[in-house]
Each structure stands twice: as structure tokens, then as C-alpha cells.
Amino acid sequence: MSKHRELGLTDFEYDLIVEKMGREPNEVELAVFSLMWSEHCGYKHSRPLLKTLPVEGPRLVMGPGENAGAVDVGNGLSCAFKVESHNHPSAVEPFQGAATGVGGILRDIFAIGARPIAILDSLRFGEVADSARSRYLLEHAVAGIGHYGNSIGIATVGGEIYFEEPYEQNCLVNAMAVGLIETDELIKSAAAGVGNVVVLFGARTGRDGIGGASVLASAELDADMEKRPTVQIGDPFEEKKLLECSLELLDRKLLVALQDLGAAGITSSSAEMAAKGEVGLDLHVRRVPLREQDMHPFEIMISESQERMLCVVEPDRVDEVLAVCAKWEVNGTAIGEVTDTRRLRVFDGDELVGDLPVTALVDECPTYTLEPAEPTTPLYPAPPKRIDTEDPGEILLALLGSANLASRKAVFEQYDSLVGSRTVRRPEQADAAVLLLPDPANGDRLTSLAPPRDDDAPKPAIAVSIDGNGRRVAADPYRGAVEAVLECSANLACVGAEPLGLTNCLNFGNPEKPHIAWQFSRAIAGLGDACRAFGIPVVGGNVSLYNEGASGPIYPTPVVGLVGELPDARKSGRLAFQHAGDVVAIVAA
């Protein structure tokens, strides 16, 4: 099979690349294109539909397109947030997969300058009562999330879990992160200023996540395939230093632009920075600090090693930037320059090993129109009957014993939900987590470390929640997606918060199949309509497609995360009945 197909590119796409390059791409160039034009980076099957989502709202500060979206939460502060999936890595190695999922979404938040303050997670596994594998995945994914969030010192304040057979082979691990920033300090990722220096900082680069692209390695290295770890290992300690280092660099106004390295590593972050800034970049792969010395240029370009960031710096500030890196014991290395060529040029020493047109890489990835068709027969087998009795007592016991209804304490107790001392409603106290905002009435800016005073002034807060119900979406994709927004909004309402913005993670099967395309397009229509009806902008999100196991696709699972505001945290609602004698009422439309 030809290399481009092994890398996931179609013949049509390959021909298009040759046309845009004006020649055949070499190995480095093909590796870079295959990643930039992958579903993950290029949104080939979802971009047109995502464009239909509403992105306007009175409190919107930063919409889709940047590392995370943000809404205005008053007093000059913005809340940045985003949800992302790490489904496939978690199915392979649940602890590291889930951990690096948290690490990745946190980098998105501090890449725009915000200090992360909270994490939420949304998990789907097979029936834990029946499946040892699902129990293993659950246990290790939860441990991985806790390990990363706890160690880096960011509170994991909420989430949701659901178990059913369609997730048996393809579990879902979605993580959402929330951060705060002074609105006028938000930083974008566009590279700018010809002659400015590109600095890579953070962990050393190894062969993590190179898996698929190893077809590009020479035969001799192929014999060493064993040595190519495709599992990415996360190091929250490194990320904690990276976080503090990034925020200090921004605080000192040393950076022109900042971007995290996620999927496709240096490749996608540099290409996107160049595309947004309408500039070119020259990168020198031999300057990249490596974990293994014998790496190929293409491996360095596409490695997914965790805990790295890329920034653009004016030449006379480079020394200061490197000094801040040294203070935080983080590697910092100048690896390139901003040019006016609008090309991403990769040098191995003096040799030019890749020369790529930035616009083609980032903005000209072909998109595909879906061909949705409503299925005529049910896509999922009817779930087995799990309660086989008429006896109400036994039914109640069976319900209470079901994993889907059981208390989540065993999970959320593994998460530090309190670090930061702002958690007013922690798990199981309310339907949404409530987090205190810095109180400007006390002169408390994010950076000033002024302690809140115990006075009678209102305590402004935000509320956050994450929800989704795949089974409902499977039954009716449009209404199921609407309901996800409704449920999440209702969760906020229960603590007294009003939604300001929404993020979402669209977990679906293979969109090239007409019935999946139908689920996908109907669900996005529902999501958009619900958001329009509520006046909530979609500030960003993530798409995870091809979630299928041997026995079929997962339930279509759009997960939505909401951030809302409440004027006074002291008045936020609780779940528990508070006083004997209080009136119990039901409110319904």
C-alpha cells in the first residue's frame, strides 16, 4: 500500500497535496500534511456543520477558533473553558489516556493566558456489572484523571458517568477545563512580527504518539518498531511548572503569541500560529531538546510528547524568556524564526528538509459533505431487560443497585474538589458546582492575592456543569441534543445560575456512514436550536468521530458543558432538604 494511504490520506487528497505543493511531497512534508489534513486537525467531516452553531452572545469574549473560548463574568474578568475528548488513547491505556486528556485541555486554557481553576469529566463505559474490562477502564481512567488534576493542583469539581453496552469497546473520556483571566490580558495564538523568535518550552520531545506515521521510517528503523511508544505518558509535575512558567511569561508581557502543543505536536501548533498570523516560520528540528537522540526530522515534527508549549518572542526578550523558563526548571529553546514567506520551512542543520505552504496546510484541507440518511431499522439492539420482577421492593433494590443510579462518591472522592478554596458547592451538594470569583469589592484581582473579607457584600460566583445522554440522542438525535442543553441549563438553574456560554464535545461513530451522518447532523441542528432559544453562544468544543467497536457504533453522544454566573454564592441552591417543616414543591412547565 502506498504511504499516503497508510497515513490515512485518500488518493484524491494526495493528488491535491501534489497540486498545492507543485511537486511530490517528501517524507517530512507528507507526515505534516497527513496530520494537518486528518479528521482530528482538519475537521474534514464536521467543519460545515459546526459553522451552523450560534457563536454570538452579549457576554462572548472569545469564540471558536482559539485554544479555548471565553465569556465575560463581570468586573473585568473572563472565564475561559473548553471540553475535549481523549477516547481512543483511554481505550488503549486508560490511566495515561485519561491523564493526558486532562493535561491537554488544561494547556488549552493557559495557552490563552487564563489560570485554570476547575476540571470536569464526562465518562462512558460498558456495563460494569457484566464486564471486567469496563471495570478496569473505569477504575484506571478515574485514577488517571485524579492523578493529573490533583497533582497539578486544579480542582475537579464535577462530571458525569454512564454505563451501557454500546460503550463497551469504545469508552468515552471527555474532560472540560475552566479558567479565569483578566479580559484585557487574553492572548491569542497568531504568530506575528517577521524576525521574531519561536521558542519551544516544556518537556523534551520523544517518540510519543508517532504510531501511525512510523510507516515513514526507513526499513532499518522499522526493525526497531518495538521502541516506538505510541502511548503518551503524562507528567503533571512538568505541566505544573509549565503552567506557572507560562503565566509568569505572560504576566511579564514577554510573549507575542502562545500556543500549546496538542495532537500533531510542533506541526499543528506552528502551522496554526503561522496561518493565523499570515506569516511563515522557519523551524530547526536539531535544536529541539530530545529524549532520544536518533529521531528523524519528521518524528520531531509530529511527536505528541506532552507538556510542551510554543511561543513567539521579540529577539531582545529571548534571554528574559529563557531565564523565566530556567527559574521554573523548564527547558526553553529557541527553535525558529517568524518569516514573511507564508511557508513552514523545516531545517535539519543547514539542510531544508520540508517546505510547506501554510495556507494549504491549515485552511485548505478539503471538507466533505455528509450524506445523511435516516435509518429505517433500529441501529441498536434493544437493551436487555435487567429487572425481571413485578415486586416494587425488589425493583427498588435493583434500581438502587444499578451502576447508573449508584452514588458517584467512589469516583469523585478520588478528585481534589477543593484546591483553590473557592468551591462553594462540591460534588453531591448541588446539581452544578459553584465556584467563587475573586471579589473586586475587596480589591481582589486575580493577581493581587488579596484575601476575601467576611463582609456582607454579595459573593459573585460561577457555576459549571457537564451533561449528555447518548441513549436519548440515539432515540432521537435532534431532541436528545436539545435535552442535553436543557439538562445542563437546569443544573445551573438549580444553584441559581444563568448560563453564559456553552462548550461541547461531539462523540459519534463513522460519519461516512449515512445513518451516522444523520445522527450527527440532526444532533448539531438540535444543539444549535437549543442554544439559539436560550441565547447561549457556543464558545468552542471538540469533535471525536469514528467511535465504533466491532459490534457497532457508540450511542451518538454530544456532551455539553455550561458556564453560568450567579450574583451571590451564599444563595446557591443545594440538593439536600435543609430543614424539617420546609415545604416540598414541584415546578413544571
Binding site: E93, A203, D208, K227, P229, R291, E292, E329
Partner: protein, 73 residues
Amino acid sequence: MSRVRVLIRPKAGILDPQGQTVERALPALGFEGVTNVHVGRLVELDVEDPSQLPAMCEKLLANPLIEDYEIQS
């Protein structure tokens, strides 16, 4: 019954944050000239049937995706 030792270490090429941290800390403690530090796990056990050990390592003691193991008996 024999006492067996299993040494479990991060696979070559896999990030070993513990080893890195220790290596970086040593000079400050006055220990120079130490390199290539790796931190792994040690499992010691009495087994009746040592032939079961490789399977035991693959299934439980080590995570073969990211760790190598060595059996010392």
C-alpha cells in the same frame, strides 16, 4: 516454594518523569556524576510454580504497553 524478584521499569523511549526528577535533584544534594536514572518497581514474592511468572507479569504485575519486566529468581 521459591522467593522471586520482579524488576519492572519504564520501557526504553517511554517518558520516565520520576527518573528525570531524581537525576535533576542529585547534584543539588552534593551527588555529582550520576546519570541515566530510572525509577521502577520491585515486586518480591514466594511462588510455588515459577513457570507462571511471565504470565503473571504480563497480566498484573507490569503494564506491557509501557513497562519492561525482568524476573530474578
